[in-house]
Symmetry: C2
Subunit: 594 residues, 2 copies
Amino acid sequence: MTYQPPVRDHLFIFRDLLELERYANLPAFADASLDVVEQILDEAARFTSEVLAPLNAVGDKEGCRWNPDFSVTTPAGFREAYSQLVEGGWPGLGSAPEWGGQGLPHVVNLAFSEMSSAANMAFSMYPGLTHGAYSAILVGGSEAQKQLYLPKLASFQWGGTMNLTEPQCGTDLGLIRTKAVPAEDGTYRISGQKIWISGGEHDLTENIVHLVLARIEGAPAGTRGISLFIVPKFIPDADGEPGRRNSVKCLGLEEKMGIHGNATCVISHEEATGWLVGEENRGLALMFVMMNEARLGVGMQGLAQAEAAYQAAAEFAKERLQGRSLTGPKNPDGPADPIIVHPDVRRMLMDARAIIEGGRAFLYWTALHGDLAEASPDEATRQKGRDYMALLTPVLKAFLTDRGFRVCSDAMQVHGGSGFTEHFPVSQYLRDCRIALIYEGTNGIQALDLVGRKLAADGGRAMMSFFAELDGFVDANDGEALQPFVAPLLKAKAELQEATMWLMQNGLANPDNAGAASTDYLHLFGLTALAYMWAMTAKVAQAKLAAGSSDPIYAAKLTIARYYMDRVLPETAAHLAKLKTGAELVMALPAEAF
Amino acid sequence: MTYQPPVRDHLFIFRDLLELERYANLPAFADASLDVVEQILDEAARFTSEVLAPLNAVGDKEGCRWNPDFSVTTPAGFREAYSQLVEGGWPGLGSAPEWGGQGLPHVVNLAFSEMSSAANMAFSMYPGLTHGAYSAILVGGSEAQKQLYLPKLASFQWGGTMNLTEPQCGTDLGLIRTKAVPAEDGTYRISGQKIWISGGEHDLTENIVHLVLARIEGAPAGTRGISLFIVPKFIPDADGEPGRRNSVKCLGLEEKMGIHGNATCVISHEEATGWLVGEENRGLALMFVMMNEARLGVGMQGLAQAEAAYQAAAEFAKERLQGRSLTGPKNPDGPADPIIVHPDVRRMLMDARAIIEGGRAFLYWTALHGDLAEASPDEATRQKGRDYMALLTPVLKAFLTDRGFRVCSDAMQVHGGSGFTEHFPVSQYLRDCRIALIYEGTNGIQALDLVGRKLAADGGRAMMSFFAELDGFVDANDGEALQPFVAPLLKAKAELQEATMWLMQNGLANPDNAGAASTDYLHLFGLTALAYMWAMTAKVAQAKLAAGSSDPIYAAKLTIARYYMDRVLPETAAHLAKLKTGAELVMALPAEAF
């Protein structure tokens, strides 16, 4: 059995947890009634499980092929699947009506993205990056650029890329050397080499729109001298169709541990023709439009691979007969019991559920705030939405990928030796997932972004707002029934607050204290956020059960919520203890001692 | 730079921590003066770094090739390296003088094994399993079998394998179906299919000696009906040289996530001629001779891959220029600072050091007890040695591989995007390391072995002895200077004791409580054991510094010891809290809810 999209859990989130219908009065939500959302989820589940999932192993085994004419051939079946993606109208889910989209809330499109990523991460990166290019031009492009590019990108008819990294610069974009020389016609000649360009060349679309960071001749050094350019593979002709071939080409592909079906390209710009997007030297800010969207998407990828790996492990654990239950045979007529009877196997499956379902709630809850930041008529709601998106994006990116990778590793462990062979899908999930901890800013960079920028922004408004929301929930739910959830949440919140205070007191005195604390702080934050999600989930589930629902999901949610509080959340104390020891020992050895 | 064996740390362990010279009066140790050990370490470092390490990436990329004549070709260079291994006299390190070996303590050979494994894990598995076959025949074989096979195995002239797993049985060996039918000449006809046989076929040796678990016709069902057989690829002739080809062959190789240079074979026995080892139906006990040795070796592999990955990460962190230190430029004349200035990068490198060096001390300290179990003239010492080996082997196997894998993953993280490409070695370390959590009994099985068998054996004697040793150390070192190490050790020990009590009280009442607690208990144990190692290390280092040593290793050891106490050990509390919640929530969902 391949990956089966967890539509039931998505419905739980949309209907019960987020109560999407509360927002029916908002423009983006008007067309997203729960019936419509359910239909979309069902169709998305069909498309991703039937079309994309069967190509996942194919993409892994075949990989992409670079050809001496600088073209790249994607794995067998990818072209056909891409056509079906475009023809099925899926691109429209994520884009605005004026550019051909359906204008639905982003949070609904996110479910389709999650399913696509779980079914076939390498494939789904092609349209994923295209959507990023769409967003950057939507925010920063001129009217002419929008008219020319947005319809083609919104429909996925053309592909899009982000051209950031160069051999000497990954994280530190101030080191970019790619040059842009103004031409007389208002365009620029772009020259330089970019590496690790996902989808930088492929055979899925008739054109590829590169968004390229480069330095205009004479620009200031560092990050203040970087501009953003559109460099199309084929320069659009007068009708907006692909015309003359631009001098941008793929010199080769990276060999990687995973996502083999996605072409990771070395891209050479050789006096390629480029168009400035937005203002000179303000390219980084625009690139961060793509980057922030991408970061949320990468957190989603961690979650998606974890879900797919969990499903494979659960299936294996129910079918594999090996040994007997410690409490007596559960399958007495068979040669052995299925390994799901063993508590240590259960522990791994339950850990997975607690992280995946809690993480999914956290992701969609945050994404809804992102929608409200745009769609709400209320400025306070919009501001809170913006604040939460800024504050929580690094947490989602790093926490969901770190923990998602651990879930994938546990899923392999459930498989025993089978999991290490490539006959079973879990090795690919583990290998594919691993990149998500790295790209779009390593998880360490996310942690630094969180403690160095996001916490203090606007006088700490976002963080105070988050704490106030937790306090409000705890105060409003002080009854007996919710105590098993609210009490641990309150404890975790107190630890997070203590850690935040510690950072405020010690991070300014010595910034290395903030750096040394950052990753533990981020995990403490993520664990606390999931405790909030599970407490809200428990509240909803209790209410549904009290109202007489016999749907087994509610009892299961209550069990997993208690499991989370008992068996996952105790980790917060260690993060707090570690981070409060500061930077001294972290930095004590001289560099040459390593 | 490829892997550089950490000879300095091995010397620290042998000379300062274990004080090997204390044992000069024992037969096995008489020829292992520190001078000799140092010479061996230096030569081992040269051989493994110059001959084995350069073939590591080759083996990963090329893998092994199965040929239609059922032969297997190892990667380019493996045959030559194997010849050098044999000619260099390295096989002798690990075997007894009567079979051509040097009779040195096992703990000395372990250093060579660790270096070999770090340099080239896939390669080193061939001789590693050969040594396992040697040990099984040494313990269980008849005099004739010893005479025939031991010299060939001790010299690595012939290879050895373990033939356990079948498609329907991995962990649960009671399900074995391979049949043994007695022949008139006292041999057996062995028929059945074995899978995942490491080194089951290759071109490195003139013969391969399979040790095969099979069921003699009419034997009792389950594990009490399993016997052990020698099934040589070529049946030795009257001169003991490879003669007639036996009907055992390799039907194919597994595709795996890692250790591509090692041939993982499907082995078919088709009425192959086999010789019973030891008694009928007592095969499992003998196989556990190999297995226990192998388990310690697998823990070592986790450590070895972590060391190699750490070295790659440290080198990258010192060379890669990216961003600036949070406390002002450290490389003001360069375009950026080396990333080792960033506290979060340091954190990952320090975590690695704390686990690797503490884990190495734990491994060699335990292995020394294994030597004393054989060599000591004092029965109490021998008994303690046997007790510790039995108790600590599952802890070493699972803790060092779990934590070793995390170190490999952190080492990839230090590399950023480079780490995900196969241009850098760290992806291979991560992929190779991952099997160590699975084979020779998954880490979950180790945890179950620990709580289900080892804790209670002989009325809990081994565990009480371990606690008494910790108490003795704490009592004997209650001075001010050691407080930063002894106090956290005492706290961890109290937590481990509380967990042990909890298991005694709750594991019998409901065995699922023991199962649900097992992995957290094992990690709590491992963390406490490393705290003991670091406390002993700190004591030694303080003494050396007090005596005027200017060797920088002692100050570094003190720093890492404090780091371990502050930044790693706090995890114990979470393990205790989790395990004390018992099995209820772990087992609460019905199987069909997964």
